[in-house]
């Protein structure tokens, strides 16, 4: 079995598992809903331009908001000083602009030079992304799932009783090019802005392959080279799934009814079925002038809260092969290796774990204290 086939077949299992969760929907990837009673949004044309006047004679902006007339002394919409041209600021050099000007539009404007094969991209993904998104984009813990979900967009879950929609790159996103900018500046979450342009192309290619997106009628292969031209030729299944919201005509609203607005015989009262209140910290229902003395924070608690903030995402769930805190089996061999080894791995990084778990603001001593806490909790 070639690597590509193996990867795909495992990916398929993940996708099948996700699709199995979908209930009551026949919408297939690539199809617009059967009753397309909407106008798909066009990135080249936003239709609700300019300022209009409503029935009440108010000037209404693109967002449906009242544009207030400029009245002397009323500073809402009235600029106290206009036409002031002090020529402040300095001119950026081209080098400065180029370094920051990394946004990418849906038409691909802004995509930089660079390229990588899907095969290489899968390796970059395994190293940098799999710790949260899973090796095949299936998600880990409850970090975002990147694959599957086709056919789930019409799911309506009521009161937690049914599965809702699964919104992924393959099922929901409409254009791939803007993701270049997003991944480049914001990912991986703990160490953003660390990927090269080539690597971002590789990751995009791998994600498209996992989602089984065909480009120009062809499947994406391991040796497919992903570059700007390739990305511009991609069409995602849900490209036509969005509509611009006409905010001047809100599609949801109430009525100012004053009496006999509902028939009490025809309604039901829903109480909280899932009593989530108790998980709010501290408890609600707190009499205002009645509270207990807070417990003093001990050293152990500091390490524990650092752990929760910076390490728990992977070490509670086992994401990216991380040893799970509290699972003795995961730790026996590691504890035998000795604290110094564990400290070094934690501070400098090891396998799927970035240095300090990506929490570079932690001091070495804090990391050591966290390791001590993790070891203690796993003995």
């Amino acid at each position: 079995m070639s690597k590509s086939v193996m990867r795909k077949s495992i990916g398929m299992v993940a996708v099948a598992a996700l699709s199995a969760l979908a209930l009551g929907s026949s919408l297939q990837a690539g199809e617009t809903p059967a009753k397309a009673s909407y106008t798909p949004a066009d990135p080249d044309h936003y239709p609700f331009r300019g300022i209009v006047t409503n029935k009440k004679g108010q000037k209404i902006n693109v967002d449906g908001a009242v544009v207030r007339p400029a009245i002397e002394g009323d500073l809402i919409n009235h600029s106290p000083v206009t036409g002031y041209k002090p020529h402040l600021g300095t001119k950026p050099t081209q080098e400065m602009i180029d370094a920051w000007n990394v946004d990418v539009r849906p038409d691909g404007k802004g995509l930089p030079p660079g390229k990588m094969t899907v095969e290489q991209g899968s390796e970059v993904f395994a190293k940098n992304c799999a710790m949260c998104h899973g090796e095949f984009g299936e998600g880990s813990g409850k970090n975002p799932v990147l694959v599957g979900g086709q056919g789930t967009l019409k799911n309506q879950a009521h009161n937690g009783g049914e599965e809702g929609p699964e919104k992924t790159l393959g099922s929901y996103a409409s254009y791939i090019a803007p993701y270049f900018w997003y991944i480049k500046v914001a990912m991986p979450l703990p160490t953003p802005k660390s990927l090269s342009d080539d690597e971002v192309y590789g990751i995009l290619g791998y994600l498209l392959q996992l989602n089984e997106i065909e480009v120009n009628g062809k499947e994406i292969e391991d040796d497919t080279v992903i570059d700007a031209a390739f990305i511009k030729s991609v069409h995602l299944p849900n490209e036509k799934g969005f509509e611009y919201n006409d905010l001047r005509h809100p599609y949801s609203h109430g009525n100012r009814c004053m009496k006999d607005c509902i028939d009490p015989k025809k309604v039901k009262v829903m109480h909280i079925g899932v009593d989530a209140t108790d998980s709010i910290v501290p408890s609600v229902q707190v009499p205002r002038y009645n509270m207990e003395e807070p417990k003093k924070k001990s050293g152990g608690n500091a390490a524990q809260s650092d752990y929760k903030a910076s390490c728990a995402a992977c070490h509670d769930s086992g994401a990216a092969g991380a040893p799970v805190v509290g699972e003795k089996g995961d730790w026996t061999a590691r504890i035998k290796a000795g604290n110094d080894t564990l400290y070094t791995h934690a501070i400098k990084g090891f396998n799927g774990m970035p240095p300090k778990g990506g929490a570079m603001s932690l001091k070495d001593d804090q990391v050591k204290a966290i390791v001590d806490y993790m070891v203690h909790a796993s003995k």
């Binding site: 902006n61 106290p80 402040l88 920051w100 879950a157 949801s252 829903m270 998980s279």
Partner: protein, 455 residues
């Protein structure tokens, strides 16, 4: 709060939030939960740390001492108080130490990409103190040296510039009061009543007096090129959240703000400079701003083409939802500040209302679950795109009630009921959920979150 796998939810969806809630609840022993409520008191390690040891007052310390009540002379009047500048910044009374922001621990996988809620049950008036402003971050909070802050403005402008904070402050400023909200405010309630707390249901909302420079003032100086239809804003923080803003909004009331409520922005709110788009989704109002670029087309970034879109029952989604429709909530009473111990008699219901489309014009209150409504009194200035206060006075007969508020803004838009919103948007739209919030008041004064839908 244990940290089992089930609780590790990043919670981008309602489904995950509710699932996690179920699992969290199932993992808590019944006895613990009941005690939790009965005791009426519980301070987490986090909240305790936020309050600080010196701030603590024991339950005993709150018990009124008869020696301090009339006709006695209170003991605090009989000796010197502490030095005036004991707290050089200033902190609230130690008796207010329970008024803090709070998190819902199961909501997110970590405390970097997360949300922290404003305690509306304890806030008076319209302005949120800076330390209580809600926080929504996508990559943690960063601290920026103001001398290292630079804003690049480029693209379709006549004169691209880099501005320092000092440059920005040399432009004419304006000072305006506006509400600020996350479009996921109240999002956990779409499938049914979820959280028994006004802080958790409506705490992704705050209101401040902002000071900064109107973007049109700066564009006057640098010149906007013909054909520039959109502005792209981008943060300098780890998440570098960016969004597309149409030029009509930029030239209307968009601001670059460096101060709120009289002091520099807090780091959690984008210090030293954030974009302010009054009445709009918080996620567009880029914190820790580093760049504004003008162009002829929008960017359709992840946060406006997958996240922050409203998915409807037919499978298509609305995008560019931007503005907050009129909304309101009763904060007195509420689950946290209920009427236990109150007797029948003259009562006051109070709350807040807001609209991104302008001024709040009317607020109506129901005592019978939405069958009949009466107009409440507006008790603050009616400022556009700002939190507005209302109060409603009535004689309580001591019987159970189902109370709620409903706002109408100056454009004539009225806030929908739960049933109306369900019919119009289904249960999976997540964002801009502005349904009337109902509280059930029982005869003993307990208050709980309920919904009314067609049977």
């Amino acid at each position: 709060m244990n940290n089992s796998k089930e609780n590790l939810s990043y919670a981008p969806s309602v489904a995950e939030s509710i699932d996690s809630a179920v699992q969290t609840q199932e993992s808590l022993p019944q006895e613990t939960r009941r005690n939790f409520l009965k005791r009426g008191v519980s301070l987490s390690v986090g909240a305790a740390a936020a309050m600080g040891g010196a701030m603590s007052v024991s339950a005993e310390g709150f018990k009124p001492d008869p020696e301090n009540l009339p006709p006695h002379i209170a003991k605090w009047g009989k000796s010197w108080g502490r030095d005036a500048n004991t707290h050089p910044y200033g902190i609230p009374s130690k008796y207010e130490a329970n008024v803090v922001r709070r998190i819902v621990p199961w909501l997110t996988a970590d405390q970097k990409a997360t949300v922290v809620f404003t305690p509306w049950q304890d806030i008076e008036g319209t302005v949120t103190p800076n330390g209580l402003h809600f926080i929504r971050t996508h990559g943690g909070v960063v601290d920026i040296n103001p001398l290292e802050w630079r804003l690049m403005i480029h693209g379709m402008v006549d004169r691209p510039v880099i501005l320092t904070l000092e440059d920005l402050k040399r432009y004419p400023s304006v000072t305006r009061q506006h509400f600020f909200s996350c479009p996921a405010n109240s999002a956990m309630e779409s499938r049914g009543p979820g959280l028994d707390s006004v802080q958790a249901t409506h705490g992704m909302l705050s209101c401040s007096v902002y000071t900064g420079v109107e973007l049109k003032t700066i564009l006057d100086d640098i010149g906007l090129k013909e054909g520039a239809k959109w502005m792209f804003s981008e943060g300098s923080d780890p998440a570098s959240v960016g969004r597309s803003v149409p030029i009509e909004k930029v030239l209307d009331d968009a601001m670059l703000v460096y101060a709120m409520n009289g002091e520099a922005l807090r780091p959690e709110n984008g210090y030293p400079v954030r974009l302010l788009l009054p009445g709009w989704e918080g996620v567009l109002q880029t914190k820790w701003l580093r760049r504004l670029k003008f162009d002829d087309k929008a960017w359709w970034v992840r946060e406006e083409n997958t996240k922050y879109t409203e998915l409807l029952p037919d499978g298509h989604a609305k995008m560019f939802n931007w503005v907050f429709e009129s909304d309101s909530v009763i904060t007195t009473p509420c689950p946290e500040r209920d009427w236990q111990g109150m007797k029948a008699g003259p009562m006051k219901i109070a709350g807040i209302a807001w609209s991104g489309r302008g001024k709040v014009e009317h607020v109506d209150v129901t005592l019978d679950g939405g069958k009949t409504w009466k107009e409440a009194t507006i008790t603050s200035e009616k400022l556009p795109k700002s939190v507005t206060r209302f109060e409603f006075f009535f004689e309580w007969d001591g019987k159970p009630m189902m109370i709620g508020s409903r706002s109408t803004d100056e454009t004539g838009y009225t806030q929908p009921s739960e049933q109306e919103l369900l019919e119009q948007k289904g249960t999976e739209f997540i964002y801009h959920r502005n349904a009337v919030q109902l509280w059930e008041v029982s005869a003993n004064g307990e208050v709980h979150n309920v919904q009314i839908r067609n049977a």
